[in-house]
Structures are given as C-alpha cells and as structure tokens.
C-alpha cells in the first residue's frame, strides 16, 4: 500500500479549458464524461466513490459492466463485500479497513463472483479522502478486470509446473534405471563369486584327498609291517589316527557335496517320494531305530539327487542323535505350491538357543569324539532346499524330540 498525499474534498477541479457560457460548459462536460466512459471501457477499468457517512458507493458504467451488473443504483459496502469471492472477503475487508484507519491508499488483486457464477480477477486500487480536520470521509478507487492476465499467468505457471514435474519424473526414472543396473551388476558379480567359491571348494577338497589317502595307506602299512612289535599304546594311537583320517575324509566329502549343491543340476523326473525315502532308510540301515513312513507320500517332479540328499541327512541325523530305539516319523503336508515334508524323532531334542546355529556349516552340538559328525549335513540340507526355492526349519525343545521340516516345490522350476 502506498501512502499518497491526502486528497482534500471540496478543492477546485482543474478542467484545463476556458468556458464562456453555461451551455458550452455543459457540452464540454458531456464530451469529457463521454471520453472518460470510452477510455474506461477500452481499458476495462471502472471507477467508484464510497461515501463513508452515508455508506453509498457510486459506480461508473464500466464498473457495472465488469461486475456483470446492469448500471443502476449505488451500492452499499455490505452489498460490495457480498460480491467478492468468499475466500477473498476477509482479506479485502482488512485491506480497506486499514487504508481508512491510516488514511492511505491500497493496491490489491482479488476475485469477484459474477451474478451467473463465474469468477473474475480484479486489480483494485483505492485511496482515502479526508476532510480539513483529517477525518476520512470518502474512499475513491478504480477496479480493473485483469482476468485475462491472471489466466495467462496461471496457464504459464501450470505449464511450467508440468514441465518441471515431467523433468523431475524423468530424472527419477533415470536414477532408478541406474540403480537397477548397479544392482544387476552387483548380483552378477555375487553370483560369479559364489560360483568361483564353489569351484574352489570342489578343486581344493579334491586335491586334499590325495595326500590324505597317502597318509591312510602309510599308517596301515606301518601297522602291517610292525604287526608283532607294536605296543598296545602304539596300536591305539594308530587306531585314533585312522578315525581322524576317516573324519577328514568325511569332511572333504561333505565339502564336495556342499559345493556341488550349488553347481550340479539334473533333469527333473517323476519321483515317488515314498520309494525314495524307503531306499534312503535301507541305505542308512539303522540298527535300532523304528522308522514309520506316511503311506501316501506324494509323487512329484523333481531332481532326485538333492531330494535324496536332504532326506538322507535328516533321517541320518535322527538315527545318529536319537539314541537307542529312537522313533522316527516321516510325513508330508500339502502347502500350496509346495509339499512340506517333516522328519520327526523322539530323541533328546535341541534347546531353542541352538535352532539358528545348527544350520551353519561346520556346526556340531556334540563333541566329534562322542558322535562322529562333520557339521555339514544341515547346512547342505539348507542349501539344497533353498536352491529349489523352499525353506527349512526345526521345532524342538530339550528332552522332547525334534521335528525338522522343509518345503519342496510340487513342480520343479527348470533352469534353477
């Protein structure tokens, strides 16, 4: 709002012409008035004057046109406020009240609502007129229809926003593409490194075998050659040496199997799980375990070797750790796209704090001298099952047996 020098009411109005008689004066006034109307119409500017004491607002012809009204009676302030766009009412009243209070003028852009409901943008200017005592008596002002300008501005702003949003979305897409590429590269590198690790484990364990076999042979030959002169202590040491060598042989075999679990793939065939389980039990030939197999185990399409290895390890563990006369139940449950197989034993069970650890490679819960074990079995089971997209788990508590379960897809996904 700019502070203009106050206008004094009742001052002389300079016309700038010399008049000789009343008629000429009237004609001149009409001409001027006509000129003013014309210029207001051309500029879309209307003018008004508000008498504060009587609350009468006189409008120019153009102003009525801008507000979509027929030229007519003067307005009241309340009627004027009523025509303002509801959201702008409070703001406008504040601006005007403040101008009156400070006897200053204002410039403001606001909206009005035409009788038929459309909105127009108005550039409103007002200035307060005071009497000689400095009391505000009138407010005069103009109103210009700036709807076209505002619309153009809004269209430009919308276009700008749209363009900005489009560019931002494009930038984000670009960024995402970059990140996806990065992830794909990382995944490929990881895959390669896993393959290399598997190949390394395979080669290393293969090469570890040859010297081990040499040691085993030499130990046996020493025992043979010294047959009669060996003391009992030496004989026991040689026996211990043999068990350690067998343990190492099993470790190497385990690592070989573990590394192969990530490499070898065979053609899926129809597998009768019931038969596969029975064959596995025969192979393990438990001495004192009682094994019951659910009669209607499914027939599935799968790679037989990994499935056999999984059962072999789980049933083997149940026999090994279950103790004398352990009871083992092998069951299957339908789980949507998967079969959920379980091997439950009546053995000593596994305390909950070990349920995570047992799946790690080289983890055993018993001293290897008490129960011969490599600590590879369950990690192999986990790797084999997860390679098929399945899951493994255990439910058990100390003293109440253990139930190892795994899910296996009903149909093999080729090219795993």
């Amino acid at each position: 709002m700019t502070k203009n020098p106050r206008w004094r009411d009742g001052g002389t109005f300079p016309l700038g012409v010399v008049t000789t008689d009343a008629d000429a004066l009237v004609a001149e006034l009409r001409r001027r008035e006509q000129q003013l109307r014309e210029s207001q119409r051309i500029a879309h500017i209307g003018s008004w004057e508000w008498d504060l004491a009587s609350d009468r607002i006189e409008w120019s012809e153009e102003l009525f046109r801008i507000w979509g009204l027929d030229p007519g009676e003067p307005f009241s302030y309340a009627a004027y406020v009523d025509r303002l766009q509801p959201d702008d009412r409070e703001r406008m009243q504040k601006v005007i009240a403040q101008a009156i209070e400070t006897r200053s003028s204002y410039v403001v852009e606001h909206r009005i609502v035409l009788p038929e409901g459309t909105e127009r943008w108005i550039l409103g200017r007002g200035t307060v007129v005071c009497d000689e005592q400095g009391t505000a008596v009138k407010v005069r002002g103009t109103a210009q229809d700036i709807t076209d300008r505002r619309n153009a501005e809004e269209r430009a702003l919308a276009l700008f926003r749209e363009q900005y949003e489009r560019e931002r979305a494009e930038r984000e897409r670009e960024e995402l593409r970059g990140r996806a590429q990065e992830l794909a590269t990382l995944a490929a590198a990881l895959e390669r490194s896993n393959r290399e690790l598997d190949a390394f484990a395979y080669a290393a364990s293969h090469d570890l075998r040859a010297p081990l076999r040499g040691i085993a042979n030499l130990a046996q030959w020493i025992e043979e050659d010294l047959q009669d002169s060996l003391s009992d202590d030496t004989r026991e040491m040689l026996a211990l040496m043999r068990t350690r060598m067998h343990r190492m042989e099993s470790l190497i075999e385990g690592i070989l199997q573990y590394s192969r679990a990530g490499r070898a793939h065979e053609q899926p065939v129809s597998v009768d799980v019931c038969r596969l389980v029975r064959e596995t039990i025969d192979l393990l030939s438990p001495e004192s375990a009682i094994v019951s197999v659910q009669v209607d185990l499914p027939v599935i399409v799968a790679e037989p070797t990994p499935l056999r290895q999984v059962f072999q390890n789980l049933i083997g563990n149940a026999i090994k750790h279950g103790g004398d006369d352990v009871e083992i139940d092998i069951e299957a449950k339908d789980a949507g796209a998967f079969w959920e197989f379980s091997v439950t034993d009546s053995g000593p069970g596994i305390p909950a704090e070990f349920h995570e650890r047992i799946w790690g490679i080289f983890q055993t819960l018993e001293a290897r001298d008490r129960v011969e074990g490599t600590g590879i079995g369950l990690s192999l089971v986990k790797k084999l099952v997860e390679a098929q997209g399945g899951q493994v788990g255990v439910t058990s508590a100390a003293g109440s047996g253990a139930c190892f379960w795994f899910s296996w897809p009903k149909t093999a996904t080729s090219g795993v």
Partner: protein, 138 residues
C-alpha cells in the same frame, strides 16, 4: 595257467601311490616287472630309450602330474608310430567327465579311479593284472 610276463610302466608322481601299487602287487604275489616314471616326460624317455621290453607292454597312467600331465603324455604317445597301439590304462583320482572323454579320445584301454581303501586297491590291481595276463597283445 600259462604265466605270461607283463611289462608294466607306471607313470605316477606320488611316491606313496607308487608304493601302493608295489604293495598291492606283493599282496597279490604279482611278479611282473614294474617300471616307474615320475611324469609324462620321463615316461616318454623310458619308452623311447627301450628300457621297457616291447613285448606285452602296458602303461598305467596317472593324470595329474607335474611338467607333463597324463593327457599331454597320451597326445605325444599317439603321435609316435612306435607307440600308437601301446595299451594305456588311466589310474587316477579324477572323476571329471572331461578327463574321461579326453582320455578315451586318445584310445585308452581303460579308465580306473583309485579306490579309497588299500584293500580295494589290492583287489583292483589283482583284477587288472589278471585281465592283462589273459589279453592277447600284438
């Protein structure tokens, strides 16, 4: 039974494995002369030097050896008109299909995986010896 002498060249770099063959022969009371080469190059030298009698001669060949591997030795051997038909039996720890295919492409007479236990090895050597004693050779 007509005991025909079989001249065996064992190409093997591991001393314990050589001992293994020797002891297995002893266990089986096999008296066939056993010639030893530590790798492919030495084996070629021995063969070309005429140290192994040409009559009833077979080669027992390991694959993983320093300097010249078993497969490389076989390639050299098959190029030589003197040894094109010499029977070679592979005796290795390698269970790799590529090794098997390459060996058979080079006309080996057999491919044997070294058994893990000595007992099994003794048995294998007995069968091997028995078979080659029966086989007619040029």
């Amino acid at each position: 039974m007509d005991e025909k002498v079989l001249n065996i060249l064992l190409v093997e770099d591991d001393q314990v494995d050589v001992m293994n063959v020797r002891r297995a022969f002893e266990k089986n009371r096999i008296v066939n002369p056993l010639f030893i080469a530590g790798d492919g190059i030495e084996a070629l030298e021995i063969l070309r030097g005429g140290l192994v009698p040409a009559a009833r001669r077979i080669v027992l060949l390991d694959l993983n050896m320093p300097r010249m591997t078993g497969i490389e030795f076989l390639r050299e051997l098959r190029k030589d008109p003197m040894f094109m038909h010499t029977p070679v039996v592979v005796l290795t720890t390698s269970n790799d299909d590529r090794d098997k295919i390459e060996a058979y492409n080079l006309n080996v007479a057999g491919y044997l995986i070294k058994p893990v236990t000595f007992i099994d090895f003794v048995e294998l050597m007995a069968s091997l010896n028995k078979y080659w004693t029966l086989v007619e050779l040029p």
